[in-house]
């Protein structure tokens, strides 16, 4: 069944009205799940044009709908099946000159603080679009 709801505001149970744009703007604007080992594979995503394999444990995300500034938020996860990393900076997103409104560089690390390929990496981005 197809349908459409048009509403400017949503009323909470406590009786407060919030704008629907508040809800829409709070949704994730980009995400992906990718594998670094072997030939990089981009399993699924939203709002990406390509994935860059830019070195051991290093991925580059190229966005299709750019962000309005570089201050968007990235939540990332790194994992391999049945492996639990201990004492690990297991993930990282670089902001050192490698983050623009259209590009984000991602590093994954294991236990030795060196960039290393991992099997399943996920990234979710919140922020305002240009």
């Amino acid at each position: 069944m197809a349908g459409k709801i048009i509403a400017d505001t949503i009323e909470t149970g406590a009786g407060a009205d919030i704008s629907t744009s508040y809800v829409v703007n709070g949704s994730a604007k980009a995400w992906n799940v990718h594998t670094q080992a072997g030939t990089y594979v981009l399993h699924d995503s939203l709002n990406m044009s390509s994935l860059g394999d830019v070195g051991n444990g290093r991925s580059q995300f190229n966005w299709t709908s750019s962000f309005d500034s570089v201050y968007y938020s990235a939540t990332v996860g790194v994992g391999e099946y049945n492996i639990r990393y201990l004492n690990v900076p297991a993930f990282g997103v670089s902001t050192n000159g490698n983050k623009t409104t259209a590009v984000l560089l991602f590093h994954s690390q294991k236990t030795n603080n060196a960039d290393d390929d991992t099997l399943e990496n996920s990234v979710t981005i919140h922020g305002d679009l240009a």
């Binding site: 981009l42 939203l46 860059g52 070195g55 299709t64 409104t101 259209a102 240009a130």
Partner: protein, 153 residues
């Protein structure tokens, strides 16, 4: 084939959400290998399957010059926020592309300009389009990968 709605002035993100909902992702076998620094290893571009489906479908993605305009704005010293984001949303979307045209578009969008502007001016190319099977099967020494000298420009 599903018909793309006539997106006029529709926010690009909304168009991408329509594509995600309605189009089957397309995993391209093509990869773009490029070198943008003598001090760094070769980099490899993997096309996004949802983006590729949108490119093949047509009527969704903006022309690539829009990204170049936004990149120019961002390169300004006093850049804080984009003020010309409307270019992404209000410019007439691209018609359907072939896979080859989509890869060419992707090169212009996601490879550094310094690479694609004179990719074949040296003794060997700075950029190569290949099939994923042609890449090394082992990632040993990944940070030392370079484009082979045996590939003629």
């Amino acid at each position: 084939m599903m018909q793309t709605p006539e997106f006029k002035g529709t926010h690009l993100w909304d168009r991408l959400c329509w594509a995600k909902e309605n189009l089957e992702g397309y995993q391209s076998d093509y990869r773009v290998v490029y070198e943008d620094s003598v001090d760094e290893c070769a980099k490899i571009l993997v096309p996004d399957p949802n983006w590729m489906a949108a490119a093949l479908q047509g009527g969704i993605l903006p022309p690539v010059w829009v990204y170049h305009e936004l990149a120019k704005d961002e390169a300004q010293e006093d850049f804080k926020k984009h003020t010309r984001g409307y270019l992404l949303h209000q410019t007439e979307p691209m018609p359907a592309m072939s896979e080859k045209e989509a890869i060419e578009y992707l090169i212009l969008k996601d490879c550094p300009q310094s690479v694609w502007q004179d990719w074949d001016s040296g003794n060997r190319p700075k950029m190569v389009i290949c099939r994923k099977e042609q890449l090394p099967q082992s990632r040993e020494w990944r940070n030392a990968w370079r484009i082979s000298n045996e590939i003629a420009a």
